[in-house]
Amino acid sequence: VTFTILGAGLQTTVQDLGRPFRQREAIPAGGAMDRLACRAANLLVGNPEGAALLEATLIGPTIRFAEETLIALTGGDLDATVEGKAVPSWQPLLVSAGGVLRFGQPQTGCRAYVAVAGGIDVPAVFGSRATYLRGGFGGLDGRALRANDMLHALAPTASTRAMIAAVKNTSSVVGRWRLSVTLRPRYSDKPVVRIVEGMHTALLSSDSRSRLVDAPFRVSASSDRMGYRLEGSSLELSTPTELMSEGVAFGTIQLPPGGAPIVLMADRQTAGGYPRIGEVATVDLPLIAQLKPGDSVRFRIISLAEAQRLYLALETDLAQARMALALRFSPREK
């Protein structure tokens, strides 16, 4: 399946689950900002969860599909339509040949994911098709998409072909299968995000320690795929501390000297030398990934054990969804 970008949108890139296995060379892990949305979109069209898809930001692209294909939109609701009809979020949709997907005004969240049956076929760089804009590699020539770009999808899996057949057996173009609502993050423009204590949380002044969990932070305009800068409540250490650079993770909350915390996101560097005052629980990273400048966020501290329990529960739900779809759309003997 071939599709053409008619309009690029604000920042549309090819993403997948990134390349976290080359971090020792300081190659950023990268990949989708909202990893859950990426995995869900792919599951809904029968792709492997790490297949390459599109990540649209605030203003989505306009895309024409040359041939009939199955797509799914997840992540934030950026008001998608096909031929004037609203595209349901987190559901599969059969688009007919020549169909055009458009986006309007963002409704909730900031990033929408468009999975296409088969997954997007661009060359893998260091084991991933994810676009790393700063490094200029991955995705389509290491850059965001532009008008007139043409992309291709890989051959669909047997499950995908069964899904397409199932939709065609109905009068609707929307597939009837869903993911459990427990898998759908509760996106908000003022979420409460769970964090665990960081290596240097105890170094915060007592006043700053209270503000870390009591005060709302505002998302700064200088937030991007590398990190979210939080303003509105400046934090400080009880005594200034010089640290040696060491490993950081998706969701590490760093405190640079200015006092405005930074949440490290998908395109983060692999190591950093600022105090690490908290770590966003993996299950709540999608809530941060969907924030846009001007939104606000509050933090709540949970234990590491609880963060891991939540993560394992989510993975169990995803595994069940994967198995249910595999059973329902497994290729039958003819």
């Binding site: 020792r24 060379e25 560097q269 190591a271 590491l304 891991q308 329990r309």
Partner: protein
């Protein structure tokens, strides 16, 4: 050896509290051991000056408390680390054309230390440098071993775009910019060799533990460099 969680998907093993060679050897020993005996669920290791961060998937590590489980396994595996045989350090030679428009701050560095430009080049190129860690940007090596006699504070106003291959001095450190980036180091030269090249089998020229030497080359050699 101390284990601290880095969020719910990583653990940092602290191996010291200063930048020195004995600590660095412990870092390398941990990496060598964990590369040899791979634990299920480990995604990657990030060696740093005095620590190694282990990224892992709690769902693969398993158990009710994956952090406790991976720490127990790491403790077992790293118990007798003193005997770990380290691979011999590689020696990486980096040709550098010093000064002129390729090293626009060489003059300032020399003036600051009351030296001639040639003396700064001689001291820089005589150094035996150690790659303590890779970080900051793909393939960027933090080098130890800069002579105090040419250590120079960062520029008061950073440049917006330092060209790839630029060799700089920032405080007690020296290094090479792998790709165009903003930077505040004093630029004393440039290498024609790609520090990071996605087309190579090993994209990064340097890796943790390498010994690095800089070799002065002429402008003519720089202009006609063929890898």
């Amino acid at each position: 050896m101390h284990f601290s969680p880095l969020g719910d998907q990583a653990v940092t093993i602290t191996l010291g509290n200063s930048i020195d060679e004995p600590t660095h050897h412990r870092v390398r020993a941990v990496v060598a051991r964990l590369d040899r005996d791979r634990l299920a669920g480990v995604i990657d290791l990030v060696p740093a000056f005095a620590s190694v961060t282990v990224h892992y998937d709690p769902a693969v590590v398993g158990g009710e408390a994956p952090f406790d489980r991976i720490v127990a396994r790491l403790t077992d595996l790293l118990g007798d680390l003193v005997n770990e045989a380290l691979p011999p350090p590689r020696v990486v030679e980096i040709p550098v054309c010093y000064g002129g428009d390729l090293g626009p701050d060489l003059h300032d560095v020399a003036a600051r230390h009351g030296m001639t430009e040639e003396e700064v080049v001689r001291v820089h190129a005589a150094g035996d440098y150690l790659v303590y860690m890779i970080g900051f940007m793909p393939g960027f090596a933090y080098l130890g071993g800069l002579s105090d006699s040419i250590a120079t504070p960062r520029r008061s106003s950073p440049r917006k775009a330092v060209p790839a291959g630029s060799v700089g001095i920032g405080g007690q450190q020296t290094g090479v910019y792998p790709m165009v980036s903003p930077g505040g180091w004093n630029l004393i030269g440039r290498t024609p060799v790609a520090i990071f090249d996605i087309g190579r089998q090993e994209p990064a020229l340097m890796t943790t533990g390498d010994r690095v030497r800089f070799r002065p080359i002429t402008r003519d050699e720089f202009d006609h460099w063929a890898e």
